[in-house]
Symmetry: C2
Subunit: 227 residues, 2 copies
């Protein structure tokens, strides 16, 4: 057993919560992909979904390939449950997301769902957020000045690059600045506010008050469901 199995166990447990007639939001990333596969298995076994709503092109393509009933977020009457992973989650269910670059659409999707179920492997559980990086989506226009302003506020980071060494652009045609904290932030909500107030910052990877049930998969195969 390893981390992949831990992710998969959490994903399969989440799929068990999906019921007939639901419209399901689909996150982005490796753990979300395991959920999409588990959901497709349940559909093959007879689950009757009203629709699935993807948060990215990658997720949309996977859902299409697995014959899930893909719908556009702008054309659904509601979203019952969104299932998505997280880069970090703390005991207050505060999260950092955006490692996959889809933070903005993931946040819109989650905040418009009746419930967001978070699925993570045990390595994503942290005592304090900010051990890794905070992805921040930034408009390309003026991006050097926006970054400079964030540095003046004490937030230092690097532009996310592609494997080919070009700037990484989100599906909204923005850049991602991966901010590294020197020490874990004591009040992440305040950091979110400060960062968000800089013109040119589109969204931060902090997710507050969005997580409903949290399903943690362990490398020993166990799954823990936190209400």
């Amino acid at each position: 057993m390893g981390i992949e199995e831990a992710k998969k166990a959490a994903a399969i447990a989440a799929a068990d919560f999906i019921q007939n007639g639901m419209i399901v939001g689909l996150g982005t990333g490796s753990t979300a992909n395991f959920f999409i596969e588990a959901l497709a298995d349940r559909v093959k076994s007879g689950l009757d979904l009203k629709g699935v709503v993807p948060s990215s092109k990658a997720t949309q393509e996977l859902a299409f390939r697995l014959n899930l009933p893909v719908q556009d977020i702008n054309h659904v009457p509601r979203i019952d449950i969104t299932v998505d992973g997280a880069d970090e989650i703390d005991p207050l269910k505060r999260m950092i997301k955006g490692g996959g670059g889809a933070l903005l659409r993931e946040k819109i999707l989650a905040s418009n769902s009746k419930e967001m179920i978070v699925i993570v492997d045990e390595t994503k559980i942290v005592q304090n957020l900010g051990a890794h990086k905070l992805p921040v989506e930034i408009l390309f226009y003026g991006s050097p000045a926006t970054r400079h302003k964030l540095e003046t506020l004490g937030y230092r980071g690097r532009w996310r690059m592609t494997d080919e060494g070009a700037f990484f652009f989100t599906e909204n045609a923005n850049l991602i600045l991966d901010i590294a904290f020197e020490a874990p932030p004591v009040y992440p909500e305040e950091d979110h506010e400060q960062i968000s107030h800089v013109p040119g910052v589109i969204e931060t990877g902090f997710f507050f008050n969005l997580a409903g049930r949290v399903i943690v998969g362990y490398q020993n195969g166990r799954v823990d469901i936190r209400q």
Copy 2:
């Protein structure tokens, strides 16, 4: 004399503040266009600008056509003065902007300039902001849900449309929701916060703490400069 002359008088007065060697930010809209023309006249008379930085394609095209030394915001070392119009400005120099749809880039440009000079005709001076509409830039993805959330908070508006009846898209490929206030907001800063916190809201047309000198042009030809 009419409103056009009032705008023009304010624009010409603003151009007089530009000095040799400056990098000048250019706003968007009819009053900003008068400034660009007045600036080009000064350049023809010998003013030696280091560069001009446009906030929109329309402004960029006008600046190119008038042979101004256009530069990209991402490649200038600083911006000395940005000159831009406003839809409304109150006695505390709080503004509403975005009638031209360029609010996001205008805000980035102004907030990265040493000074923003605001040029308006007298009809833009208000006692309380919110007499007209507040433009809010919103991501297309999830836009019906984002609008619904704003309505739940008491903010009602209409999607801006083109003359041809299609959705108006900003240069950042987002929509504009023009919010109509039932009564002028008592604490615009709080409205800005509430609206900005909704995921999917990219930026509001409220501009706080950005205006430096305000140049008001009157229909009788007079110009008033407020420090």
